[in-house]
């Protein structure tokens, strides 16, 4: 099979996907827009709500627009506690510390009625963390996975069967991630009765690969303040050797299909040209880094650059 894989798959795309202007004409779009903005306000806004008068409700869009604001259980990680525990773990190399359920999670009621649950020891045994939630009537399974250093103690995975993503991540941590935001806690509706699945980041043990990682240039990561983002490969080589890093080089490529569309992806590049520029880097395991290069200069992203160079 000699055809470009992306072109093969593109040819399978249902035709309807290219006809959304017909499927959702202007009138329907405005109708949905008005339904939405007339409903519950953005979460950080004042609580006053306007409701649609019953006679204005329509049936052309599903009546999924929420009206009620329920008290929420907000679960956060004690950041100072995480830093202290993470530092201790890095020194001792211990990944799990048995602890009673009562000491693993602390619950309190916030002034606005929300319930805040703080995990005081995110590296307690997974069973202890599950038991802590169970004591408060929550069926939450907690899993710990190895992550790059700046993501230790953060939330890397959430799922639930409560419908409509009942469990929401709470951002506010200092890690810099490609997906946007740094989830250091969770908001779980107080009325949640389903099953939840939470994955937290922990330090990797020798031989493990990271299951989630931040940019290698981000605060807390191996190449933070190295100034290699946007630098040429030739400039980077001695720095990488000084860090004793094993490197997998990758190049970004764009493939074009017969219909003129293009597909961007990357592939391994064992010997990148010395004049190529570094566009991105991720630690894949302790001592191992994956670096993307391209022949064109890195398009300086002020926001991203500022984020990864904090404290430099």
């Amino acid at each position: 099979m000699s055809q470009n894989i992306f072109e093969l798959v593109r040819n399978l795309r249902p035709a309807d996907a290219g006809r959304v202007d017909e499927l959702f004409p202007e009138g329907r779009r405005r109708e949905l827009f008005q339904q939405i903005v007339s409903s519950e306000r953005p979460i950080a806004a004042a609580p006053a709500r306007r409701r649609l008068a019953p006679s204005r409700r329509t049936r052309s869009w599903p009546s999924t627009i929420r009206r009620a604001r329920r008290p929420a259980l907000i679960w956060t990680l004690g950041v100072a506690a995480v830093a202290a525990v993470a530092a201790a773990l890095l020194i001792t190399g211990s990944a799990i510390r048995p602890q009673s359920a009562a000491g693993a999670v602390a619950f309190r009621t916030a002034p606005n009625g929300d319930i805040v649950a703080t995990v005081t020891d995110p590296f307690a045994a997974e069973g202890q963390l599950k038991a802590a939630f169970a004591e408060h009537g929550l069926d939450i399974t907690v899993n710990l996975v190895p992550v790059s250093p700046s993501l230790v103690g953060t939330v890397v995975y959430t799922s639930d069967n409560g419908g409509a993503s009942a469990i929401q991540p709470l951002h506010g941590g200092r890690c810099v991630t490609g997906g946007g935001g740094c989830a250091i806690g969770l908001k779980i509706p107080a009325t949640f009765t389903g099953k939840g699945y939470i994955t937290l980041g922990r330090p990797a043990t020798p031989g493990e690969t990271y299951e989630s990682q931040a940019s290698a240039f981000a605060p807390g990561e191996t190449l933070h303040c190295s100034r290699l983002l946007g630098a040429r490969v030739a400039t980077a080589l001695p720095v990488l050797r000084a860090h004793n890093l094993s490197v997998e080089w990758r190049e970004d490529i764009t493939e074009r299909s017969s219909d003129g569309s293009s597909f961007g992806h990357s592939q391994t590049d064992p010997r990148p040209p010395a004049n190529n520029y570094i566009w991105d880097a991720l630690m894949t395991a302790p001592g191992r880094v994956m670096i993307w290069t391209a022949p064109t200069p890195w398009p300086a992203d002020a926001a991203h650059g500022a984020a990864v160079n904090q404290g430099c």
Binding site: V9, L23, L32, V37, A45
Partner: protein
């Protein structure tokens, strides 16, 4: 951060900001959903996606497409779980192939091969492939949709290519991503 009902750093009121987001990205989100499910389910998921965007407007990043598609993906996943439709994507693709290829036997056979290969991929592998092939996203944007690191995502199209192009080595396990 709010001041007098306006998000500091974002011009206009919440409604104005949401209106811009809605108008600029409605088609991309709609195309994403219509490609993956039937029209009624797509309409429901579309409404739910933008409702979430409205409620969580302060969390929406300045470049919102990846965030929006990530929300749409989760909404779709919940729909499928609720309706116990684990093979909905493959069914949708197969129906489309049947509709257009009856009179081109060779092309039809090739499509069937590719469909079968896609069916062998994990959901994450399928989605990584489709975000590039169907939705025109780059690797970084696709990683944002999946909540993966770009490193984890970089391995997925390779795995899919091996599956489709040859009877080669087994596909490696996908890395965990934020659902």
């Amino acid at each position: 951060m709010k001041a007098n009902g306006r998000s500091v750093g974002w011009p206009g009121s919440d409604e104005q900001r949401f209106e811009r987001l809605y108008e600029q990205h409605f088609n991309r989100v709609a195309s994403y959903l219509v490609a993956r499910t039937n029209r009624d389910s797509a309409a429901e998921a579309l409404a739910r996606t933008f409702e979430i965007a409205w409620r969580r407007l302060p969390d929406v990043p300045a470049e919102p497409l990846g965030w929006l598609l990530g929300v749409a993906r989760r909404v779709l996943a919940e729909q499928r779980r609720a309706q116990s439709r684990q093979d909905a994507l493959i069914t949708r693709i197969a129906q489309t192939a049947t509709e257009v290829s009856h009179d081109h036997a060779e092309a039809f056979a090739a499509r069937e091969l590719v469909i079968a290969a896609i069916g062998d991929l994990t959901p994450f592998q399928q989605e990584a492939l489709l975000l590039v092939a169907w939705d025109g996203l780059g690797e970084r944007e696709a990683a944002a949709v999946l909540g993966c690191s770009r490193g984890a995502l970089a391995l997925r199209p390779q795995a899919a290519r091996r599956r489709v192009g040859a009877s080669g080595p087994q596909v490696e396990s996908p890395r965990r991503c934020i659902e």
